[in-house]
């Protein structure tokens, strides 16, 4: 199974994890196309591919993919769009009750419309109907040492709401954060940011640890848990089940 993983700096956790996981999944190939921050905003559809509209992004695509300067969906069985400011959040942020339901819903729609993950999905959909998984930007870490684990039902409720609100009709399926990494109310356990590394794109910052104040960039352990959850989810999708190992 050929998978293209398209994303921002959060892809670093998946890439690190995959280096260790690839050997035990011989039938699966992951090709990463990533750039830090909003670099992927420079992707544009051209023919049957997504191409970079600037040299910096082109270089990042080549570096992270191992030489490819464009994303050709037809070369893969599915695409994963990861991070890119697609935030996992509860349906109702705590706003102190000062907004109407309609205003909050409109703000939520507007937020999705501006979200780079969904903008990228839109570009992908303009050239391909390939199956697509959306992996949200990891949740911020908890500062509560005694935070209780999140339950499967609690996580499902958030994911179901987000799937309906953001991805309905867009031909993409949400695979949220791994339950084992989550604590209440909707955060990651702090240990998953330990030893997290910057995304390597071929510059002087490659291989450096993320800043101490990092709240969302996760380590390879988190990446492995997310990839495992994603592969489990693929087995439930009729169109991909026979190819998911």
């Amino acid at each position: 199974m050929q998978i293209a993983v398209v994303g921002d700096s959060h892809v670093a956790a998946l890439k690190s994890a995959w280096e260790a996981m690839a050997a035990v999944r011989p039938g699966t190939s992951l090709t990463f196309f990533a750039s830090r921050s909003d670099g992927l905003a420079g992707l544009r559809p051209e023919g049957d591919a997504l191409v970079a509209d600037n040299d910096t992004l082109r270089g990042h695509l080549q570096f992270t993919s191992g030489g490819l300067d464009r994303i050709v969906p037809a070369a893969y069985d599915m695409v994963v769009i990861y991070g890119l400011r697609f935030l996992l959040s509860a349906e109702d942020d705590d706003d102190g009750g000062v907004y109407s339901t309609a205003a909050r819903a409109a703000a939520r729609r507007d937020g999705f419309a501006q979200c780079l993950a969904l903008v990228t999905l839109g570009k992908l959909r303009s050239i391909s109907d390939i199956p697509c998984i959306i992996g949200p930007t990891p949740p911020g870490v908890s500062h509560d040492a005694g935070a209780l684990p999140l339950s499967a039902d609690e996580l499902s409720a958030v994911e179901d709401a987000l799937q309906a609100a953001a991805l309905e009709g867009r031909g993409a399926i949400l695979v949220g954060p791994p339950l084992a990494a989550m604590v209440r109310p909707l955060n990651a356990d702090r240990r998953f940011v330990d030893h997290a590394l910057k995304l390597a794109v071929g510059d002087e910052r490659d291989g450096k640890g993320v800043r101490a104040r990092n709240q969302r960039h996760m380590n390879a352990e988190y990446g492995a848990l997310w990839l495992t959850r994603m592969f489990d989810r693929l087995r439930t999708l009729p169109s991909l089940a026979d190819r998911a190992t």
Partner: protein
């Protein structure tokens, strides 16, 4: 032989029509306003009033002045949806406050001197706030949500009074509709932008000079109780009435209502040190400007007109107090220039300005009153 020491000999050029107006290109007429107090970029400014008032806040914001917005939109709400939901049109989400008596009503609610009515209009399963009927594009979810949101806006309105240094209010209309039973005022006639008109309950009032002046004086008094340092800048909207219930022709009714509003504003500015009047009405409506700042419907003020008004506002501040030279909004110029302009000045100005111009801004007013146009003969 004329006495060369009469009082007119000491007057400045601006006091004489020929040098101040007739011999100038209309875009070069200067000194239309001598502000009483300096409005500095750090001074918090609250803005409310009729549709035209929306331009004042945006212009303050765009020029780096401190336009107060005490009622914040939800995070991520787009610019267009902010306007649809009535955010950042004024300092709080009051929607248009067309009359002086409506201002007094909002102020009384904010100070606790009056309790907001519980009246609301149901449309299907949605709920409309009679005091800002278009504030939610599809109405509120429930009576509870409507009252909660209105209470929040009243809190924010009060906060803007408490925090501002300048309260800018644009007077728009003299015509209003009141609840005959309880005396409160609606911004729009029930049945036009929501609700159902009941001739036994809904009464038309055309406010006269005394009523408007009294309402403003009472509003200012209530606001000073919250904020003793507050200063007021009054303007009169140059936008004509969409429709009149007065029985007069709409043109005659427009002129009468604007003149009354102008007279009240002038009287208050002349008699109260903390009240000023800025002549936006005159800048758009004076025959000197030849109607050049109106759109073809001769009602809507063009972006160029708005820009010229606001350029005048800041230029006069600068001329009076020597504050930093404002960045003029170039939208004020080219389109307003008449085809009859002589001497090739238009071409020169256009060439000079086009090099710098980013183009007119595209933010339109949100104006419920314009809905009345739909009820006229087609």
């Amino acid at each position: 032989m004329a006495d060369t020491t009469n009082p007119y000999t000491a007057l400045p050029e601006a006091a004489f029509w020929r040098p101040a107006v007739a011999e100038r290109h209309f875009l070069d007429i200067a000194g239309l306003w001598t502000p009483k107090a300096n409005l500095r970029p750090r001074d918090a400014v609250a803005t409310y009033g009729s549709c035209f008032a929306q331009h004042i806040g945006r212009s303050l914001r765009d020029r780096g002045y401190r336009w107060l917005r005490t009622e914040k939109p939800p995070r991520d709400l787009s610019e267009s949806n902010r306007a649809r939901f009535g955010y950042e049109l004024f300092s709080a989400r009051t929607a248009n406050i067309y009359t002086a008596t409506l201002l007094r009503q909002w102020t009384a609610w904010a100070t606790g001197e009056a309790v907001p009515p519980t009246e609301m209009w149901q449309e299907g399963d949605r709920w409309i706030d009679p005091f800002r009927p278009k504030i939610e594009p599809t109405g509120f979810d429930s009576p509870d949500e409507l009252l909660r949101m209105r209470a929040h806006t009243i809190d924010c309105f009060r906060a803007s009074i408490a925090e501002c240094r300048f309260f800018v209010f644009t007077l728009g209309l003299t015509e209003s509709w009141v609840n005959a039973q309880d005396g409160y005022e609606y911004p729009m006639c029930p049945g036009t932008a929501g609700g159902t008109f009941d001739p036994a309950l809904h009464r038309f009032v055309n406010l006269d000079y005394d009523a408007i002046r009294t309402a403003l004086v009472q509003s200012f008094k209530m606001m000073r109780a919250i904020n003793p340092r507050i200063r007021f800048i009054l303007t009169v909207s140059p936008v004509p009435l969409t429709a009149t219930m007065s029985g007069q022709h709409v043109l005659a009714a427009t002129m009468l209502s604007k003149y009354i509003l102008r007279a009240v504003a002038g009287s208050l500015a002349a008699t109260q040190d903390t009240v000023d009047y800025f002549p936006s009405y005159e800048i758009i409506n004076s025959p000197v400007f030849r109607g050049g700042f109106f759109e073809p419907n001769l009602r809507s003020v063009s972006h160029h007109g708005v820009a010229h008004v606001m350029n005048t506002f800041f230029t006069c501040l600068h001329a009076t107090f020597g504050t930093e030279e404002p960045e003029p909004d170039e939208a004020a110029t080219d389109a307003a220039e008449p085809a009859t302009d002589a001497g090739g000045r238009k071409a020169e100005r256009s060439a000079r300005r086009k090099a710098r111009r980013a183009g007119p801004k595209g933010e339109d007013e949100v104006c419920e009153e314009a809905l009345l146009g739909a009820f006229g003969a087609q």
